[in-house]
C-alpha cells in the first residue's frame, strides 16, 4: 500500500518540467460534454485547450494550470480527484480495500487449511466379527 501511494505521488513530483498539453487534456474534463478535453470538440473544450496552451507558453506549471481551471469551472473539471484533502480518500480507499481483501483471503485460506485434518484410521473390527470373517474365508478356500 505504501509503495502504491508513493508511486501515485511520484507522478506529481515528475511534473517539474514544462507541462505537456496532451497530458493535461487527458486529465481535464469538458464541463459541457463531461468527457476529457482530448475527446471533445465542444466550443468550451476548444477554449479550454487554447487556455492550456496559453498558460504553458506563459510558463505556468501543471499545478498552476489545473488550479486556474478549477477556480473557473470547479473541481469537476479534474478527471482524477486531487491527491490531497478529501480527494485523497478516493486514492486511498481502493488501496485499503485491496489490503483488507488480501487479509481476508489469507485468513480464510488459513482457516480452511486448518480444518483439513488427515483422514481418521478405520475403526478396528469387532474381534467376534473378525473371527467369523476368517472362518468364512477359510471355508471358501477349502
Amino acid at each position: 500500500m505504501a509503495l502504491a501511494a508513493v508511486c501515485a505521488f511520484a507522478a506529481d513530483a515528475q511534473a517539474a518540467g514544462p507541462p505537456d498539453a496532451a497530458d493535461l487534456e487527458a486529465e481535464l474534463v469538458c464541463p459541457v460534454c463531461e468527457t476529457t478535453l482530448d475527446q471533445s470538440d465542444a466550443p468550451v473544450a476548444l477554449r479550454m485547450k487554447a487556455f492550456i496552451r496559453e498558460r504553458i507558453a506563459a510558463g505556468d506549471t501543471e499545478r498552476e494550470i489545473k488550479d486556474a481551471l478549477v477556480s473557473e469551472f470547479g473541481r469537476g473539471v479534474l478527471a482524477t480527484p486531487p491527491k490531497s484533502g478529501f480527494g485523497l480518500i478516493a486514492w486511498l480507499l481502493p488501496l485499503g480495500a485491496l489490503v483488507a481483501g488480501v487479509i481476508a483471503v489469507v485468513l480464510l485460506v488459513r482457516r480452511w487449511s486448518g480444518r483439513r485434518e488427515p483422514p481418521a484410521p478405520p475403526a478396528p473390527l469387532d474381534p467376534d466379527l473378525e473371527r467369523r470373517v476368517d472362518e468364512e474365508l477359510a471355508r471358501f478356500e477349502r
Binding site: P31, V32, P43, V44, R47, F51, S71, E72, F73, G74, R75, G76, V77
Partner: protein, 187 residues
C-alpha cells in the same frame, strides 16, 4: 455463533443496499431542475431556486431572493454559445425598456471563463447584472439547464412564469418574452 455472525453480516449488507436505494430515491425526488419548464408550461408557477453568486459586472455577490418584489428575467448563457450572441441585444433592450417598471434582467453565466464572459458583456454593451456560475451548479443542477441559452421569467414573488429553452430570436419568441415580462410585472 458462526451462524449468528453470518446473519449479522447479511443484515448489514441488506441495510447498505436499502440505504443506497433510499439515497437514489431521495436524489430523484429532491431534484429541482428539469421540472421547472414542464411545471411552468402547466401553469403551476413553481418557486425559482434561490442562489447567491459572485457578480461579473462589479464586485460583490447577488442573491436572487433579494430581488423579491421585482419581476426577473433570468438568462442562462455562455460566451461560447452562438444563440446567446444573437439574443443578447434583445435582453439588453428588454432590460432598458422595463427597468423603471420593476424588471431586473440577470445574466447567469455558466461553464465559461470569467474573462470571456466580461469581454462578451463589453462587446454587447450589457448593463444588466451578471452573475458567475462557472461549474454550472446553479444553472444545471438547480434550474435543470441542459443547453444554452435558457431563459426563465419570474414574477414578483419569485415564481417561474415561463421558460424559454434555446435562443429567443424568432419574432414569435420575442413577442412571447415581452408578453411574459408584462405578465410578471403585473403580479
Amino acid at each position: 455463533m458462526a451462524h449468528r455472525g453470518r446473519l449479522v453480516a447479511q443484515g448489514v449488507a441488506v441495510g447498505l443496499v436499502a440505504l443506497l436505494f433510499l439515497l437514489l430515491v431521495w436524489s430523484l425526488v429532491t431534484e429541482e431542475g428539469g421540472d421547472l419548464a414542464a411545471a411552468a408550461a402547466r401553469g403551476e408557477r413553481p418557486e425559482a431556486p434561490d442562489f447567491t453568486l459572485e457578480r461579473l459586472d462589479r464586485e460583490g455577490e447577488l442573491t436572487l431572493s433579494t430581488l423579491r418584489g421585482k419581476a426577473v428575467v433570468l438568462n442562462a448563457w455562455a460566451s461560447w454559445c452562438l444563440p446567446c450572441k444573437e439574443e443578447a441585444p434583445l435582453l439588453e433592450q428588454v432590460w432598458r425598456e422595463n427597468r423603471s417598471r420593476g424588471l431586473v434582467v440577470v445574466g447567469l453565466n455558466s461553464k465559461d471563463f470569467r474573462k470571456d464572459a466580461q469581454r462578451f458583456a463589453r462587446r454587447f454593451d450589457l448593463t444588466f447584472p451578471l452573475v458567475y456560475d462557472g461549474p454550472g451548479d446553479v444553472a444545471a443542477d438547480r434550474y435543470g439547464v441542459t443547453g444554452f441559452p435558457e431563459t426563465f421569467v419570474l414574477d414578483r414573488e419569485g415564481r417561474v412564469l415561463e421558460v424559454f429553452v434555446g435562443g429567443v430570436d424568432a419574432d414569435e419568441d420575442r413577442a412571447r418574452l415581452r408578453a411574459a415580462v408584462d405578465r410578471a410585472l403585473a403580479t
